[in-house]
Homo-oligomer: 410 residues x 2
């Protein structure tokens, strides 16, 4: 008899963003005339920049001619793109990353989820609370956790991020093997200093642990003192993997391209304690289960790593950060506490009158027709908080804030 | 301490096609002046057809304008594409498949590999021997098999496909839960009649088993009596999932788009014996670990399901089938036994003088500069066989066969 993976049944409920999408669809069905402003899922709204569009057209043309046609590409991505990334994102900032350490993929979501597969079943994981749900859900599906009780999965170490620690996780008191970190953080918008990251790199060295570092929002960093990559930290190239994405950097949420950096020096261990190069293990995983990102998309992505492309993209980043300022000003005027928005596209606010985060979600959609993300969807410590994204049309963001200001509760 | 997934260490060696690529690279490095003809990996060589190119350009243009820009798409793919597929591939052939039963993905390799995740750890699987390596390797990585001994993994039922049974698997004598079938077959090129498939559908009903049916090569079927889909078989819509791909159908190996059909009526069971809709389980998997196929690529793919696009594609299919005829004629003239090539792009031949299939691989590359795929790479029953693909430039195929004819061993 064909049976379901029993671990799937441990999953608490719907995937958060699917649940939000369902509620929004229901609301719109019942209120077809209302204009909803979506600041929930964190989806970009500005079109791809001209350099990328031009490169994509060129890529399409290549595929239409026998002489320039591309069939199966390398599992790890084309050299032209991996080299550009190594140069532009890393060597230019004094970080020594080679093209062989770069793996092109179709999304940071896909890669952070799939990465959970390559480690031993008994790997002890640490995640922050609140957290991007994919890190934990993929581990639940893999069978690395116990059941769901009181909004936490058993056998997972949660690192509380609250106002008390400025939403920055403290080091675990017990030993863990795998640590998920995300800075600038989703959902809190908090950033990490070099000192913060050095603390984690030291912990990883001391405990032979591995850090999975999600840098999907690094392009929003404005403060020149802040690190864009964990590989700016001494010793990180032995204990960390970094995930980057063009989704938020260059408006690729619907175009799909990310890249994962696995330095040659990162090793993991077998049961006998022998070390293995993680880079090679991941390539084996990808060559078996993945056939690469479309050539056309890789061609378009390469334009992001040119001076012209980057200058166009920086204007978009600035546009979204200006939106973040509008949201910040709105909440300041309402005396509502929040973090984020300076070096990140997310604003993480305390719900007014401490109402529950799903109640605030319902209130906002029903009374303001504004969609945000309830903090509780990101974990136990997210209760009483709410995430708004700065992605969107500026006029819509302004309108959303005007509507929120009229809410009696605020 | 961070440890490797111990199941990865069971994997016999390199992924087959990565191993072939390595040997070819080595040969080319040592013989830079030799012109290699690659008939190994089964990669298309004809460019994308004009209708697809036009639609891709349109898709790119859409992404360059705020009004027509697309961010995150539905996890299961855009309705415009799922509808076209349901109509064109299924309803037109009298098969009742709805858009809600179609899931767009980035490759049949990705989906057949990822599908192994959603079932219980103790699922007993049956695969044919020879087999497309991804089916078995993904199950090894998942921990569903024992160790590798004598070219077989323990705890897997292998269904021998030999000249004795015309390369069509017999029903298992024991009970299995999950059966992987592929017709037209990769690597043997063998096809299945409706009667053949009915036998498997009946088995699945009797044993509450599930069939994963890989129809990646259905577009090559010329014989009007042969089924293109397992859903042409009575009762299949309760016990089968079908994987389709544009890779070979429309030259999408480097463009990446596939689709998986999971009828609403397919259910799998939990430990208590309660049934669950597989369709919903897969959507939960995809929404957690996948963010959809690029909008641009889906837009291009939609052109495949139009009369104009299909007529252009049919010419390409015919081109490759004409290549297959050239290969067939070559081997006939050498009195070498083979199957395939009539309704499939693959020719599966017996190695001359019964030399081993990797020896034949080395002989072909060294003496003819022709790359094929050693049968042993597909399983124990593949030893003594060799796969040549009909994908390639017609002149190259002719030249390859002329070179092979001059081989003394033939």
């Amino acid at each position: 008899m064909i049976k379901i993976n029993e671990n799937y049944q441990k999953l608490s409920a719907n995937y958060l963003f699917a649940e939000i999408a369902n509620r929004v669809t229901d609301y719109q069905k019942n209120n077809p005339d209302q204009k909803i402003i979506k600041l929930g899922i964190g989806d970009v709204t500005e079109p791809l920049v001209p350099s990328v569009i031009e490169a994509l057209h060129k890529g399409v043309d290549d595929m239409g001619n026998r002489e320039s046609f591309y069939g199966y590409g390398p599992y790890e991505g084309y050299e032209f793109l991996r080299s550009s990334i190594a140069d532009f994102d890393f060597k230019k900032r004094g970080i020594n990353i080679n093209p062989e350490e770069v793996f092109i993929s179709s999304g940071a979501k896909e890669d952070t989820a799939n990465f959970s597969e390559v480690f031993s079943q008994d790997t002890k994981i640490a995640i922050t609370d609140p957290v991007y749900p994919v890190y934990i859900d993929s581990n639940v599906m893999f069978g690395r956790t116990g059941s769901y009780q009181n909004n936490h999965y058993q056998n997972v170490l949660y690192l509380d991020c609250t106002a008390d620690n400025q939403f920055k996780p403290d080091l675990p008191k017990e030993k863990v093997d795998l640590i998920y970190l995300c800075f600038p953080n989703n959902p809190t918008g908090q950033v990490a200093t070099k000192k913060d990251l050095q603390m984690w790199v030291n912990y990883a060295h001391q405990n032979k642990a591995l850090i999975l570092f999600d840098a999907a929002y690094e392009a929003f960093i404005q403060d020149e003192e802040l690190p864009h990559s964990i590989f700016e930290i001494d010793g990180a190239d032995e204990v960390a993997v970094e995930f980057r994405s063009l989704s938020k950097t260059a408006g690729f949420t619907g175009t799909r391209l990310s890249y994962t950096i696995i330095p040659d020096k990162v090793h993991i261990y077998d049961q006998e304690g022998h070390s293995h190069q993680l880079n090679k293990i991941w390539l084996r995983r990808q060559s078996t289960k993945f056939n690469g990102v479309p050539y056309i998309i890789q061609k378009g992505a390469a334009a992001v790593f040119t001076d012209k492309g980057r200058s166009e993209i920086n204007q978009q980043i600035q546009y979204y950060l200006d939106n973040a300022k509008i949201i910040q000003e709105g909440f300041r005027s309402l005396d509502i506490e929040f973090t984020g928005g300076d070096n990140s596209p997310y604003i993480w606010l305390k719900t007014p009158n401490s109402i529950s985060s799903w109640d605030f979600f319902d209130l906002l959609i029903n009374q303001c027709q504004v969609v945000g993300t309830p903090g509780a969807g990101f974990g136990r410590c997210g209760e009483g908080y709410f995430r708004l994204s700065a992605f969107g049309n500026k006029n819509n963001i302004r309108e959303a804030m005007e509507r929120i200001k009229k809410l009696k509760i605020c």
